[in-house]
């Protein structure tokens, strides 16, 4: 089955892969540890090309991604995580141990997988899909701050999240609400 067979092509343009990767590079990010995300395909592809000199490390689960990133931080690197909303939900115990208990600074780029066309332009808290709707309340419950990244006008969200974790330690999230583009 083709992707378009699932429900028609998305007409909502999200942030560009070049915009995201260049912003991360400028901020000194060294590694992106990931379980691949449906929302951020173009960012994965650009990272894989090596164009920006940021290493992409794949793990089997989000728990492993979080602990791998923590180890990279201990060794002096500057990693971030790239996961999906359901991956964030799955990795909550590791997030609690690594970011909340141990205060290791990690930014999570979280794709809002499953966000429906009717929800574009509205709060994801109004999504009819639990996996989308529950992401912000889950982050609130964990006292993890988050910023939206729906298009290139919001690329500064990456800087805000990185600055927050540098200053306060712990986790911060950037919620990618639309498919990233190949630009």
């Amino acid at each position: 089955m083709s992707v378009t067979g699932w429900g028609g092509p998305s007409d909502a343009l999200g942030p560009s892969a070049s915009g995201v990767c260049l912003r991360l590079k400028a901020a000194g990010v060294s590694d992106v540890v990931t379980v691949p995300d449906f929302v951020q395909f173009s960012v994965h592809e650009r990272l894989q090309s090596g164009a920006d000199g940021i290493r992409q490390i794949f793990t089997c689960t989000e728990d492993q991604a979080i602990t791998t990133a923590a180890g990279l931080y201990l060794g002096g690197r500057r990693p971030i995580l790239m996961v999906q909303n359901q991956g964030l939900h799955k990795g909550l115990n590791s997030l609690r141990a690594i970011c909340i208990d141990a205060r290791i600074p990690l930014v999570f780029l979280v794709g809002q997988f499953g966000r429906e066309q009717e929800n574009m332009g509205h709060s994801t808290r109004e999504s009819r899909r639990n996996v989308v709707r529950l992401t912000e309340p889950i982050l609130d419950a964990c006292n993890v701050p988050y910023w939206a990244l729906d298009d290139d006008d919001q690329l500064a969200s990456l800087d805000h999240a990185l600055a927050h974790t540098n200053k306060a330690g712990g986790a911060a999230a950037v919620l990618v609400g639309r498919y990233t583009t190949w630009a």
Binding site: T68, G71, G75
Partner: protein
Amino acid sequence: MNLMEVCGAISATRKSHAPRSVLVSTMSAMFAFDELGDRYRRIDSVPLMGGAVCLALGISLARPDIPVIAVDGDASLLMELGGMVSVASARPAWMIHFVINNAVQFNGAVNMTRPGCSPRCEFAAVASAAGYTRSLTFTSISALQAALPRLLTEPQLAMVELKIEPNAQSIGADRTQPYVPDDQFDRMRNAVPVLRTALSNDHHQSERG
């Protein structure tokens, strides 16, 4: 062989042959290293069962020049068994992944049966199948002691399964359960700046030549 013997052998060989190594421990091995007084360049995955292997992976990817030693628990590793695939795929240059196989959960507390005893899960075989370049199994302390110096001084990715006897059960109807102390929840946070600074100082020393 028992837990204190194997952790004692790893600790002694670290001191004598690999003083720059990093130790990532978890579960009952963590308490054994406490008892041995080995807190040097160490971090514990606690309370986080299953976290040790990829914590070690990340450190090793950041610092391929030094040995990173993970001392995992069998029940812990089972929680993130796919972590061995993540490790093998990332190809860390110098990571020795020990797994303490005592075949129980809550070792020394109540010694509950864990999954993978019958039929038996062979961790070294799983590691080989996952892509580790070397897998070893030890059942005798003398054989382990003889192998450790080379294991900790030659860059490699290895799984070392240590089949040991569990500690004696200490909790039951005649002995109540203790509260979990604060240290169990604080020790990872406390270790982070210490280990990060130690690893950073390595770099500064090598830059000064």
